[in-house]
């Protein structure tokens, strides 16, 4: 019987395999950031261990960094200490670091692909759940905890239970590819499979709806696999993938011969079977807006907010969850999404802060002004994205419209740097999590695509971007 792409990558990385034991899996690339690594390095020191493969380990700082003027000292002492700690750890253990002043600094999941560090068929780990992003290149990319970070630093391997396989087939063609985006596809998938729908599985996204997407868009899809509960998300590499990675700063010297073998090897066999399947038809899908406090609580932009009964389908816990979410979000069932007014707009994060995201959002902004009741910011995913956008003049479009144009980092996605919502503030956000307090204590998050966020900034409330001329 044939094998899935996941099974092929897994099997080619097994170091030790025994019945009823976890498999010991070799790790090709380890990405490190300032938040989940300090205790791991402390553990190495305590046990007098070295980093096994510093040459396969790459670090940057993204979670804590301020996104304002970097020539100024950092005001938050604890963040400053955590950043200094990463600098010292990288120096002590001989690890390449893209620090706060590096032109390659950025969100770890944005810089990996941009630098050609993310490669098809490889295993990639990082102490961050959104590591699944790298799966867009046909890499098996897993988010791990700090104990596992330490284990990989020490051994370049991990003991892992083999996940199950989950085929998510995206069929059809979007009618308006500017208005209905990759973000809307992945939010639709999570709305349907639920936040635990992918638990214990690696999702492979397949079908015409996926192969039509650009690499930036595919990364948005794989990025949010974790919000559907999956261990990872994968897309088989194709010519778009190979073109993207050609001639990057760290692209391997023997790249073309690698491409030749990837072309043959890195695909799911036609007779392979998956443990689970879900099919989404995207011919008629609408822009999505989350209304609740997890990414599964999402509806179409032209729908009203569902009642807890409608949402829960008779499941008492789901009903309670929806009631609590509506209370937290200060929303009532039946309210039309387009009638929801917003206070803040955040275009950024590892989900939607790549060049294409900024280009698409800028088309809506051009020649317009942010609504007087809204404050809006754009935080490019990396310094490289920022530079490319500035070369295209996108910064001017955003600044002229009264958006703030910031330095690269995780920013307002996760409320651990100065970019946070105040209690009660409502934000149209291109990030990945709308959990209670995620963007700051008491903050209210609506997950949307970059074009939906941009249109909300201009209008002061959500609008159906299908009504706008986006070409």
């Amino acid at each position: 019987m044939g094998k899935t792409l996941f099974e092929k990558i897994w099997e080619s990385h097994i170091v030790v395999e025994k019945q009823n034991e976890p498999d010991l899996i070799y790790i090709d690339r380890h990405l490190v950031h300032e938040v989940t690594s300090p205790q791991a390095f402390d553990g190495l020191r305590m046990n007098d261990r070295k980093v096994r493969r510093p040459d396969l380990t790459i670090a940057t700082m993204d979670h804590n960094v301020p996104t304002t003027d970097r020539s100024l000292p950092m005001l938050d002492q604890t963040s400053s200490i955590q950043i200094k700690t990463l600098e010292n750890n990288c120096k002590d253990f001989g690890i390449k670091l893209f620090d706060i002043n590096s032109p390659n600094q950025g969100i770890v999941h944005v810089i990996g692909p941009q630098l050609g560090i993310t490669l098809p068929g490889s295993t990639i780990v990082c102490g961050d759940s959104h590591t699944s992003t790298h799966g867009a290149f046909g890499a098996l990319a897993l988010g791990i905890g700090t104990s596992e970070v330490e284990h990989v630093l020490a051994s370049q391997t991990l003991w892992l239970e083999k996940p199950k396989t989950f085929e998510v087939r995206v069929e059809g063609k979007r009618k308006n590819t500017h208005a209905v985006t990759a973000k809307d596809i992945i939010l639709s998938i999570i709305k349907n499979i639920g936040t635990a729908g992918g638990t214990g599985t690696v999702i492979e996204y397949r079908g015409e709806g996926i192969s039509d997407l650009s690499m930036d868009q595919r990364m948005t899809i794989c990025n949010m696999s974790i919000e559907g509960g999956a261990r990872a998300g994968l897309i088989a590499p194709d010519e778009k993938t190979f073109d993207y990675l050609r001639n990057r700063e760290y692209t391997p010297k023997n790249y073309e011969s690698l491409v030749n073998s990837w072309r043959d090897d890195l695909k799911t066999d036609s007779d392979a079977t998956f443990d689970k399947q879900f099919i989404l038809d995207i011919n008629d899908i609408a822009p999505q807006v989350s209304w609740g406090t997890n990414p599964g609580m999402t509806c179409d932009v032209d729908e009203p907010i569902p009642s807890p009964d409608e949402f829960s389908n008779g499941d008492p816990n789901q009903k309670k969850g929806a009631e609590k979410a509506l209370e937290y979000m200060d929303l009532k069932p039946g309210t039309m999404i387009e009638d929801i007014k917003i206070d803040r707009v955040f275009i950024g994060s590892c989900t939607n802060a790549r060049l294409e995201d900024l280009i698409e959002a800028s088309k809506i902004i051009q020649g317009q002004k942010v609504d007087s009741n809204v404050s809006a910011m754009v935080v490019p995913g990396s310094q490289m994205v920022k530079k490319q956008a500035e070369e295209m003049g996108l910064d001017k479009i955003f600044i002229d419209a009264n958006f703030e144009w910031r330095e690269a980092g995780c920013s307002m996605c996760l409320g651990m740097n100065p970019d946070i919502l105040s209690p009660g503030e409502r934000c149209a956000s291109t990030s990945n999590r709308n959990f209670e307090g995620r963007q700051g204590n008491g903050g209210r998050t609506h997950l949307v695509s970059p074009v939906m966020a941009a249109a909300a900034a201009i209008n002061g409330h959500f609008v159906d971007v299908r009504k706008l001329d986006l070409n």
Binding site: K18, N317, R433
Partner: protein
């Protein structure tokens, strides 16, 4: 293992409410513990005692890979989470660092056990006894793999069986 239940009867308790992002810079575990569950239940610290268990619904610990989540709970004295299901990274983090036991339960245990109930967990028999109500439920056994990591006392102490 014997202790009392703190029950959160809802699904999808995420790592951002277990330990909000602003505290991921805190390296002192005792201090981290003072912020556990801050995003969900401001009264958690007045309730929690050494040896307590948390009972909750589906997909417990979803979200971020932050190991700070099981660390903060374990340093409050929480010895186990009983839930209908767990998000995988939280589950592995709990076991890898030997912070607490993630125990999957069935609906009858979820419905039968109330806030404050005293229960006894016998992992060797895969059994949960509700002492307060004199009821017994099955827990889902750990997979062989996870059981071995738990028995070893965490990921760094685990060694595969020798032939």
């Amino acid at each position: 293992m014997r202790g009392n239940i703190i029950k959160y009867p809802r699904d999808n308790i995420d790592t951002d409410v277990i330990i909000p992002g602003q505290y991921l810079k805190v390296h002192d575990y005792a201090e981290l513990a003072t912020h556990a569950m801050e995003g969900l239940d401001p009264d958690f610290h007045s309730k929690v005692k050494e040896g307590d268990f948390i009972l909750s619904g589906k997909n417990f610990g979803c979200g971020s890979s932050r190991e700070h989540a099981p660390i903060a709970l374990s340093h409050c004295g929480v010895k186990a989470i009983l839930a209908l299901s767990f998000a995988r990274i939280f589950y592995r983090n709990s076991v890898d660092g030997a912070f607490l036991l993630p125990i999957e339960i069935d609906q009858d245990a979820y419905d039968g056990i109330s806030e404050g109930d005293e229960i006894n967990i016998d992992v060797s028999k895969n059994e949960i006894k509700n002492i307060t109500k004199n009821q017994t439920y099955k827990m889902k056994p750990f997979s062989e793999i996870i059981g071995k990591i738990i028995a070893a006392g965490g990921l760094f102490k685990y060694k595969p069986d020798q032939d």
